[in-house]
Amino acid sequence: MEGENEVKLHGMWASTYSKRVELALKVKGIPYEYIEEDLRNKSPLLLQYNPVYKKVPVLVHNGKPIAESYIILEYIDETWQNGPRLLPQDPYQRAQIRFWASFIQQQLFGSFYKLISSNGEEQEKAVEEVFEKMNVLEKGMKELLPEGVPEVDGNNSGVLDILVTATFGPYKAHEEVFGLKVLDPEKYPLLFSWVQKLNEIPLVKGVLPPHDKLVALLQFMKQNGLKPSS
């Protein structure tokens, strides 16, 4: 029925946060309309839907907006209960996933940001910090997945798969532009092999930003001292 399950996503093609939501919608098989936002000229609708942060992504379900990518993922999981579950039912497992989602967001992304917006000695410190956080994440994922990364495909991906894909999937573009190997297979074998598996999934290939286009954008931003902000 028209209007009964109208889903729109305001996003940006290179935004890792936006990609999280696209991946979730595709994994769940939810049809949606995608609206590409020009972040230098945000639509009035976006500003109306997300007055607090004025950022993408925003999911609009039957006219009602939800902002903040991780929150959107949980909303999607709770609202569309057919198909693969993005989060486990067990409260303890959910708590662990939320802990790591928060770590990726606050700690890891925090240090990525410092890395790309600093120079000289400050940047060297930032590099160390990134490697430290990656170490913590690798260890954490090893404990969370004692039997290693399960075989994933588009049908059984969960929230952590989505977060890892959106964050690290385009790692080759990041390496090319920033000249730094963050996703080092020797330092972080579990994360590296996880990303390789995820990047093979057709659904993922269809969602992640095209390599050359992303490299061009990141180069442009780097040269102009622009910082990522959704």
Partner: protein, 221 residues
């Protein structure tokens, strides 16, 4: 029922969030007091990533990060009172404000530790946070969770109640009632909820401790 322990140190606002949630749900627990200058081996084992309190240990399994703990409590003990809305959309809105409290609330703690220009900056951040919540967060509701308190109220309760003490210790005034009428009314209602009223640290006593710590911070700045 599996044993519940809460590792914490008073008067941490993050620990109080968990105390309030456990007491509201009527969950019996043992409080394990941590000396933050000499953290126990157990704490470091339970929270190797952040090495911080609070940590909730349920049946020997640790949960870290106060708001993650709060959602865990709500999901593990779903009985009344319900601390989150019962439909996905309103839950998403609640989580939005929980995240906002986490991301922007830090300004209040940073304020306490900063001087000079940095103090001006953190004060501005704290004010902006209050203004956003005043304008967008509460609406006409009595509590963030509606007629009864919920996790969002606990999140902001710990920020705003502690802000009042921090303001005094630093010697600034941000949370003025004429600027934030909704939040002021909300705070009064929050403090009058019986479980909260019975479990609020005394602000005068806190001020003595905070003032002393502030003096030390300023002296070494």
């Amino acid at each position: 029922m599996a044993e519940v322990k809460l590792h914490g140190a008073l008067p941490s606002p993050f620990v109080y969030r968990v105390i309030w949630a456990l007491k509201l749900k009527g969950v019996p627990y043992e409080f394990v007091s941590e000396d933050l200058s000499n953290k126990s081996a157990l704490l470091l084992k339970y929270n190797p990533v952040h090495k911080k309190i609070p940590v909730l240990v349920h049946g020997g399994k640790p949960v870290c990060e106060s708001m993650v703990i709060l959602e865990y409590i709500e999901e593990t003990w779903p009985q009344n009172p319900s601390l989150m809305p019962n439909n996905p959309y309103d839950r998403a809105q609640a989580r939005f404000w929980i995240k906002f409290a986490e991301d922007k609330g830090v300004a209040v703690w940073k304020m306490f530790r900063s001087t000079g220009q940095e103090l001006q900056n953190t004060m501005k951040e704290a004010l902006e946070m209050l203004q956003t919540v005043e304008e967008h967060g509460l609406g006409e509701k009595k509590f963030f969770n509606g007629d009864n308190i919920g996790l969002v109220d606990l999140a902001f309760g710990s920020i705003v109640y502690w802000l009042q003490v921090i303001e005094d210790a630093v010697g600034v005034k941000l949370f003025e009632s004429h600027k934030f009428p909704r939040l002021h009314a909300w705070l009064e209602n929050f403090k009058q909820v019986p479980i909260i009223e019975e479990n609020l640290p005394n602000q005068d006593e806190m001020l003595v401790v905070f003032k002393r710590r502030r003096e030390q911070l300023v002296a070494s700045a």
